[in-house]
Amino acid sequence: MGLGRWIRDKPAFLERAYQVSYATIKWLRPLILKLGFKRASRLILPVERFSKRLLFDCKMCGQCTLHETGMVCPMTCPKHLRNGACGGVRSNGNCEVIPEMRCVWVVAYERAQDMQIFGPEMISIKPPANHTLTNSSAWINKISELDQSAPKGWAEIPHNPVIEKKFLDEDS
């Protein structure tokens, strides 16, 4: 885990790496479509699982939000919060549930400060996890846009105009 830990402390590098891999996947899209999502998954899933587990202790939720959560996997939070931190954080910044572990969201917030591109995305609200995607490839789900498939009611609510002006406009 030495390599994993070392690289996790380089959020600025990781967000660039995310950009590159996203571009690569987009570039591979025609090939993946030709293969079909199922077959492409069989090839990609082992690579994705190995690399993301090593780097992020990834839990394979199938809807990766890493770049929007300080390059920290929110599913490593014992409460699986996708919009943390909760109110149970200890005053030393450690987790309520696992006292010897740094709170995932404390780390996420710190790392997001070093991320020029995606750091401000911490403010966006992440929809509830889609548990039918657990153990599937987030990379394939990105291309098929399955990872964008929030429940139908979710998109119905408009932004609060004041909050939108303050955060969402300035950040874009």
Partner: protein, 315 residues
């Protein structure tokens, strides 16, 4: 906040009228006897504007939030039903929201919930299908769009005032005001915060909120509560998740003779209310006096918060 009323509830009404609100948390009984709930509510009805019915707080099982609401809405008490994400998934929660609104619950407080490990049944399965922010947004979809999260239509939307928690006293400190903004964006109409024992920290946080323009977007009720003794304070700050009690407060209790510590704890609580009342952006207090409910009338009176506005409607 100029839009029309979201509920017929008393709490929303007094907040919108600019009155300083007082809410309290009932101690849920470990009992199947409804009289215990009625008695406590009767004792406190004239000193607070709404009762919170907690949902397995501290991951300890007690009479459930929705059943306490069921008992007390029959007597037209204004209720804040708490929903924690720890024990129920999205299917169960949305059903409870409809049932609560049908019974006359006008306020729902959405919280993530203390982890199962904080309670006496740590071997329980944690659910956390939602987090508090997703829960807020889901109930808002039900209320404002008249549909379940899935998009399926409701024939009548639940008219509820949406509450959320806030804990400015724990890290990541600079993220806390931003997270409040997220909760407002998700749908929070009012906030009931974690216990405040550190007024300077609250002041800093409220200033950050003011700078972000949040004061006008949400009603903020500061959580307060009497500490029973030095030992209780020590227990709370080491064992209860998310509670920050500065050394000065614990020392002050420690310097007080044992038989007068309870009185001193109450005095500290009154002093804190008097201080937070003056902070810009604070719209009320939420008194949490676990198993010391008999102190609440004295606290409200000594803090100069009586008489409470008359209740002219239920819920």
């Amino acid at each position: 906040m100029t839009e029309s009323y979201k509920t017929m509830g008393h709490l929303e009404k007094i907040l919108r009228e600019g009155k300083f609100a007082v809410t309290t948390e009932l101690t849920p009984p470990d009992s199947a006897n409804p009289q215990e709930v009625f008695d406590e509510a009767a004792m406190l009805a004239n000193v607070v504007d709404a009762f919170n019915a907690t949902d397995g707080s501290g991951a300890h099982c007690h009479m459930s939030s929705i059943s306490i609401c069921s008992l007390l809405t029959r007597q037209s008490h204004p209720m804040v039903m708490q929903i924690s994400c720890r024990d129920r998934n999205r299917i169960a929660i949305q059903g409870d929201v409809l049932g609560a609104a049908a019974m006359g619950v006008s306020n729902i407080l959405c919280i993530s919930g203390d982890d199962v490990s904080a309670g006496d049944q740590p071997e329980a399965k944690r659910v956390f299908d939602f987090d508090s922010i997703q829960l807020l947004r889901t109930i808002r979809i039900m209320r404002d769009k008249g549909m379940f999260l899935s998009g399926r239509k409701l024939t009548e939307a639940p008219k509820v005032f949406l509450g959320a928690a806030s804990n400015p006293y724990m890290p990541p400190y600079d993220w806390r005001a931003l997270r409040l903004a997220k909760k407002i964006e998700a749908g929070a109409d009012f906030i009931q915060s974690q216990y405040c024992y550190d007024v300077p920290r609250l002041k800093t946080f409220m200033r950050q909120c003011g700078d972000l323009g949040l004061h006008e977007l949400v009603y903020y009720l500061v959580g307060v509560g009497p500490l029973r003794s030095e030992k209780a304070a020590e227990y709370m700050r080491t064992r209860v998740p998310g509670v920050h009690i500065p050394d000065e407060i614990v020392d002050r209790l420690g310097k007080t003779p044992k038989d007068r510590q309870k009185e001193e704890g109450k005095r500290i609580c009154v002093e804190i209310i008097e201080q937070v009342k003056e902070i810009e952006g604070v719209d009320g207090v939420h008194i949490m006096a676990y198993k010391q409910q008999e102190l609440v009338p004295e606290i409200v009176e000594e803090a100069g918060l009586l008489p409470r506005p008359l209740r002219d409607n239920g819920g």
